[in-house]
Symmetry: D3
Subunit: 236 residues, 6 copies
């Protein structure tokens, strides 16, 4: 079996479980998912301040997952929180669910749009789109303004609100949709059927890519920004 | 089993076999590779003229592969020859080995360089890099000027020439290497070990991505350029 | 006399005639237009699948035009179908009507918009705009959703629909309009008068540019992607 | 006859004559060149300070050329000095030799390089390349550091120095060369023959484009930056 | 005391006074503002034609300001009229109010929008945004279509019209507002309070930046486009 | 007096003192610098792992500085570590020394190059250059490979090594130099005199910009990514 660690950078156990379920659905038969969460930090990551506080606890959990035999990592927050720090710190390759979803969406649609939770995340995600080089492929980043932890509360009306944004995105020329939050993974297949265009959620995309890397025994390049740090004893 | 069709757009059977071997090495245990080649056209694709002549015969083979149960396709030429036409024409999703290698390389290195065969391919590949949005991640596209069909002739000195280009690429800041020709796939692991930085070949990367798409029953968006053509009876 | 070949890549003779008329209107007194069409392939080019099937027959016609003394070529499809293959294959320089219209429009307006026929062409044209480097000058690519072969059917209402899109383009800041289909050439002067802003059609623009190149005995560079192919006997 | 005004923005009559000769060589048989120069200002344009002082006198000459029947204008300085002001001020369309050469070069080579006179012009030309949208097509802007007015002094060794830069440009991947000064026009054919790749000089390219615009009675868009000024009585 | 020259490139004395007042409000206690205006040229700069005519007279005034002890310069027109010519011609560093406002706005908002006076300025400002590299940070350039010289006429309704554009900009995702005309400086604080987001006017921003440069005895680089001209006796 | 907090995100007191000295040199007479350092974390920030561990302790110190009356903040690490988190968390505006140096350098040179300490920082800084929109202005990011904490050790030969890189940068067309590490601030004036081109260090640039913002009572926009966090009690 190939072990792939899926780490939720926030500290909400219910969200970790829902992410783990999405990850297992997407895994090949020889891939075992080991899911975990940040050992300390905020209950949800809503903006760069939460992100900054979440990273040390997330790195500690990811180090433990390597001790448990993980051969590749998934960071299960659509902001790709702490991705560069994780690549430098860890032995094995790391895939963020945000980058994974965008790369996969660019295979299924000539252009895509991201539908995310909070307005304040829009600039962060736009920066990431540009950083990954996919700005010319991204028609819009739309926010539903549903708090992450309310996505599965039936009173939030989340699937209907997201549906409305999918139609807005289509009108702006998006050919595929990226769901911009780990918590939206379970809506993907239903939305795809309803709207008749590809809907990509990042957990499955990242598990697929991390498995691909693990299968080839790939490791992150140490030539540049991901060179191993000299002070790694500081974590924990 | 999930069937993934790997189609060589040129008509050289020996190259199809070597590509099939690389594809099978990279496949998950539940993925079956069905390899084939263009039913007519040039023996190698060296530039856009060869590419234009290869596409009709490649599409005919890919249609047959769907009749044989393929749930996703790989086009095994680093130029991603005929990718848009194939996505429009075929039922199932299509991944080019060029785009696959670049997306995967961008997970393993903050930047990458492509080492390809012929100088005349450099502008085509540079255009593709830009079209996929990855220009800011690509440090160089270098040509070894070895004809595709001589790559495995020991007298060509191919691995040594490619090694030289890898060191040039590293000096220009590339953190990962993409091998820019389907025929180079088997050199990847040796070069990675020799140079100590990630070396990505496109066949394995594309098989991984196509498997990921097949596993999720994904299909190409029909909202835009890949809408089904009205005159598809013309192929064959 | 300077012979300029204008080649319609589809096989519809009526369209070739209308293109030839537009070409002759734009030609200098010492320029002779020799118009022709693809020797086999689709009746219209609506998307990349049609384009892929049209190229071999178009190249065969263009080779014949050189035998007839053509000193420069125009490809009369706004997608610039097969442009790179044609430049590699042919002795004389080649101008696509899409690129020609965009370059000329950028001399007449600080920005432009393209009004084309089919929605599915929008991503292809957007890619071309970017490939030619003119993305920062292009405010919009708008589709009228009139099939190419119905443009001149009075029941299609084509001129009125195009007029509506011109006003949309102006509202988005476009200072000049590019008509995005060879079949729209004859509407240009009327629309220009009606809307009071430059309206550029590609056939005339390309004839002017091809004449300019022919007059200087220019040839395509053979340094890169347009190096002569080694297998050119395959066409026909 | 179609009158095309070619205006030298500096006040050196010998340079005007050499520019007029290049313009007449490139003109179609029905095009009459009326050449002139700035009515006051610097003897050469070497940098933005000279450019700023040259524009009022150049606009006065161009207004006179319209009174003499000019139906299109060429500004014969590779910096495209005062291009926006001229388009706003004048009735008829205006083409700069810098933009003309770059657009034409992009039809003959997948990429180009500019070989100009002074180092201090390099940033100006790089800005223009970017403004015209052609940055991705331009491999280098190289300066020969020969003063404009010494180009034709045999002691300057200008053709040999330019030849050296052409080889540098080719090594950097340029497929076509743009000569970056009106005074270099007469070297173009010789250099093209010597180096075996397209060499574009701007005077001929601009005369061809201006003739194309004049033939179609085109005018500059008045929708934006080139709207007619309200204070045009100030010139002169 | 550190003398900073603030030069209005038009010839309207009332506007110079209002600019001087805004400059003095923003100056540190050890900074003395010496305000002046173009010695000849248009009464307002509305488009590139006015700009071209204004530059020689503006340079003459700036040279005089250096004779009066100026250690840094501000050009008080949002078009940054003549900025390159001024940097080449003058001893001391030069800051345009357009560039200053954009750089400062990018510290206060992740993105910004410009609200300017005339529609015809929109393309000029868009070009400047791109030239300064800030295109990815600029959501919109909106024109209020109030003539510069009517901004302070109560009948123009200028503050209300600008307020409307600020709300449009916010709806397009702008997090900060740049006032795109020297004459709007005095509205900044009121608009900031009314709309609850940063409103940056260029005169204060440029005075701050010019003071910073003067305090460090900085001078413009002479390595490239701003090398000192050889014909500087021509001004005046 | 206007209080500006300058916060060193690492925990090395000697470096804080040297930064404070550079800040005081650059401050206007009415600006008081209050210097401090991260309350816990790594002794130097060499790469994203160190950066991630430094941010929580840096935010705690910056919050304390606001309690001491700071009206604007400077983050004194050239990586601009934690800039978005700080802008969201703090009341007053925040300037990173990296962004400050780049914005100021773009006023003094048409292009610039960054000379930094470690190779592993090059990709981080390249990303920042792109994120701030200044990629088209940046000719190179060069690393001296001197550890931050050895810069002032005479045996490191730091000034000579940096001088060598400045000449490399000039040869690549850079017109101004940015020193890419807070610890290099004191070398700036000497290097500027030696090389005859502008040398910008970030501490002074950031103090100037932070003073400018404080003087205008500016605050960060709360419209987007810098909206105040809901969980701010988590710091400390």
């Amino acid at each position: 079996m190939i072990r792939v660690a899926v780490t939720n950078p926030n500290t909400t156990a219910a969200m970790t479980e829902s992410i783990a379920a999405a990850a297992r659905l997407a895994a090949a038969p020889d891939v075992e998912i080991i899911a975990g969460q940040s050992v300390r930090g905020p209950a949800a990551i809503e903006g760069p301040f939460d992100g900054a506080l979440a990273v040390p606890g997330m790195l500690a959990r990811m180090r433990d997952a390597e001790a448990e035999g993980a051969r590749a990592h998934v960071i299960a927050c659509f902001d790709d929180t702490g991705l560069d720090a994780a690549r430098a710190f860890l032995e094995r390759p790391v895939v963020g669910i945000g980058e994974a979803a965008m790369h996969v969406a660019s295979l299924l649609g000539h252009s895509f749009a991201i539908v995310t939770t909070l307005s304040r995340s829009v600039p962060v995600l736009s920066d990431n789109v540009a950083r990954y080089g996919l700005a010319s492929r991204c028609r819009a980043v739309l926010a539903s303004d549903i708090p992450v932890l309310s996505l599965h509360d039936p009173r939030s009306g989340a699937p209907e609100i997201i549906s409305g944004h999918i139609e807005t995105a289509r009108a702006r020329g998006a050919e595929a949709i990226v769901l911009g939050c780990a918590g939206m993974a379970e809506f993907a297949r239903t939305l795809e059927a309803r709207h008749g265009l590809p809907v990509v959620e990042g957990v499955g995309a990242a598990v697929g890519l991390a498995s691909l890397l693990a299968r080839q025994n790939a490791v992150s390049s140490r030539q540049g920004v991901w060179a191993r740090p000299s002070r790694s004893h500081l974590v924990g």
